[in-house]
């Protein structure tokens, strides 16, 4: 498989002072679901912005489908990527849901007579058809994130970055958006998903987990392989997901012998 995104020897610093990211080498394949985790201030949000060229590396380079991205050609990646941000309010640009979904289409110069059809299609997919005339003040956090996703998907992206997109939602909103991401993943097998998160249970659903600490990549492996390193993760201020903690306790007491990463399966095994 060929990588859709590649960072080569990337350094990044704000105001050229302390390095926020140091010597990042990373490649992400098309259709992969990658979680980037790390404690607050580990540089994970900066990394997310570098990956879709919202920030430019101070050293090193970003390759998108093998093409080096710079200031002149960053519209290549801009047209093919979207980002769902942490604060549902600060990314809601339109006055109403309709206008917000239309915003990206306007930037893409879609003729206005075609817009309603596209808006209705993606609003329906994201389950916000009944909210089209609403203003953001009358929406819940989860609904706003759904609108953001409708606006992004309407642009037919190859990459979506979720920058702590669940962090400000209540449990219901969190569940709702987590399930929605699974659906989007299933419907768009070629879509590359990057989740920046400190919720390790969320990271557990990804194909690959990248752990950042102090601006450096510490782990880059499958979730199970990464979460095995319980002590190292704890030292980094990352607590293991509940399911893994439970597995480890059960294995330690000899109740089960091999870890099982599905709650249903695990319970069945215990009951045997």
């Amino acid at each position: 498989m060929k990588p859709i995104l590649k960072l080569e020897n990337v350094n990044y610093s704000y105001n050229n002072k302390v390095n926020v990211l140091t010597d990042i080498n990373l490649s992400i394949n098309s259709g992969e679901d990658v979680a980037i985790i790390g404690h607050n201030g580990s540089g994970k949000s900066t990394l997310g912005k570098l990956l879709i060229s919202l920030l430019k590396p101070k050293q090193g380079q970003l390759l998108f489908n093998g093409v080096v991205i710079d200031n002149k050609n960053d519209n290549l990646i801009r047209e093919k990527s979207g980002m769902v941000f942490q604060n549902p309010d600060n990314q809601f640009i339109g006055v109403t849901v309709k206008d917000d979904i239309a915003f990206g289409l306007e930037n893409k110069c879609v003729p206005h007579q075609d817009m309603d059809k596209i808006i209705n299609e993606y609003a329906a997919k994201m389950g916000v058809s009944h909210l089209l005339e609403k203003e953001p003040a009358n929406l819940s956090g989860g609904q706003k994130q759904r609108v953001a996703l409708a606006g992004i998907l309407a642009m037919l992206p190859d990459i979506i970055v979720f920058d702590e997109a669940l962090a400000m939602l209540d449990p219901r909103g969190k569940n709702d958006i987590t399930n929605l991401i699974q659906t989007i993943k299933k419907d768009n097998p070629h879509l590359t998903i990057i989740r920046i998160t400190h919720n390790l249970d969320e990271a557990f659903q990804s194909d690959k987990v990248i752990v950042l600490s102090k601006g450096k990549i510490v782990f880059n492996d499958t979730p199970i392989n990464v979460f095995k390193h319980e002590d190292e993760l704890k030292a980094l201020g990352l607590q293991t997901p509940f399911l893994i903690e439970l597995n480890q306790a059960l294995i330690k007491e000899g109740i089960i012998h091999q870890a099982i990463y599905s709650l249903d399966e695990l319970v069945k095994k215990i009951c045997k």
Binding site: H39, N40, G41, Q86, S140, G141, E164, A167, M168, D170, P171, R172, G173, H198, N199, L200, G237, L238, Q239, F242, E245, L246, A249, L250, E253, I255, L263, D264, V267, K268, I270, C271
Partner: protein, 282 residues
């Protein structure tokens, strides 16, 4: 310190087409020296309830009695009397780090003391004391609050509320947006404060936090009290009917029971106690 709700109802924009009934006929008493959790989904009325305690809001009908002071529609409260209402109650809002405004940390922490007790002989000592309680040493005193990290800002905000020595601390979603480590740190800090004799009212979505830290739990849905009791008692049941999350540990317990495993959920509050119970039942 006594806090009592007596047939309290509250509506936003009463008698207009925009009327929203946020609370309906609430009767409730908070116990001293407890950690009381108020839970419910977004829009259930739980924030409204806390804002009635220090008279940020006035009931549409009924009354809230706090330390013999009455908050109802009939009694007009202003000036010094309003301060008397609020000085014993510390209120930490979600995003409390946004409330900092002075040019140094120490000044911001002293702000509350100065506004409630203008003649206090030594506000500086109180401020230093509460800063050390939240774990910020003297190197922070003269720094600008705006140069601090998010977590440090939050601590300054907490110190700013502790400094005027409230007897009750209301926490609105204190763990929202924090990772597990951050959650544990901040809740441990609040428990340390609780040890010094401060009652805590905790508004939260996070049932894992409620289960671990609260003594008493009040479930609100659609502006009405659905349940009052011990978190362990309530959370082991089906709480999704109140639009609440089942804590992780009880998800496992419920599944085990559904598969016919005989375990006593009353003895289970965390992974360790679950394992013990599993071993006891072979």
């Amino acid at each position: 310190m006594q806090i009592k709700f007596d047939h309290v109802s509250f509506s936003y924009n009463p008698n207009t087409p925009f009327q929203v009934d946020a609370l309906k006929d609430i009767n409730l008493e908070f116990f001293e020296n407890n950690v009381t959790a108020i839970v419910g989904r977004t829009g259930s009325g739980k924030s409204t309830l806390t804002e009635l305690i220090n008279k940020l809001l006035t009931p549409t009908s009924g009354r809230v009695v706090v330390n013999n002071l009455v908050n109802d529609k009939k009694v007009k409260v202003k000036g010094k009397k309003m301060k008397a209402f609020r000085k014993d109650i510390g209120f930490l809002f979600q995003f409390s780090e946004h409330q900092l405004f002075e040019d140094s940390v120490i000044k911001d922490v002293m702000f509350g003391i100065k506004s409630y007790y203008p003649k206090h002989p030594n506000p500086l000592a109180l401020a230093k004391q509460s800063l050390s309680l939240v774990g910020l040493d003297e190197t922070f005193y003269e720094r600008s609050p705006f140069d601090l990290s998010g977590g440090e800002k939050k601590r300054v905000a907490i110190a700013g509320v502790l400094a005027y020595q409230p007897k009750v601390l209301i926490l609105d979603e204190p763990t929202a947006g924090l990772d597990n480590k951050g959650k544990k740190e901040i809740m441990d800090l609040f428990m340390k404060i609780h040890q010094t004799g401060v009652a805590i009212i905790l508004v939260s979505h996070d049932m894992d936090v409620v289960l671990e830290y609260a003594d008493q739990m009040v479930v609100i849905d659609n502006g009405e009290i659905e349940r009052i009791g011990k978190p362990k008692e309530i959370l082991k049941e089906d709480v999704e009917q109140y639009n609440l999350e089942t804590p992780n540990i009880y998800k496992v317990v419920h599944l085990l029971k559904r598969h016919g495993k005989k375990i006593d959920e009353n003895k289970i509050t965390d992974i360790a106690s679950l394992i013990k119970e599993l071993k006891n039942n072979g």
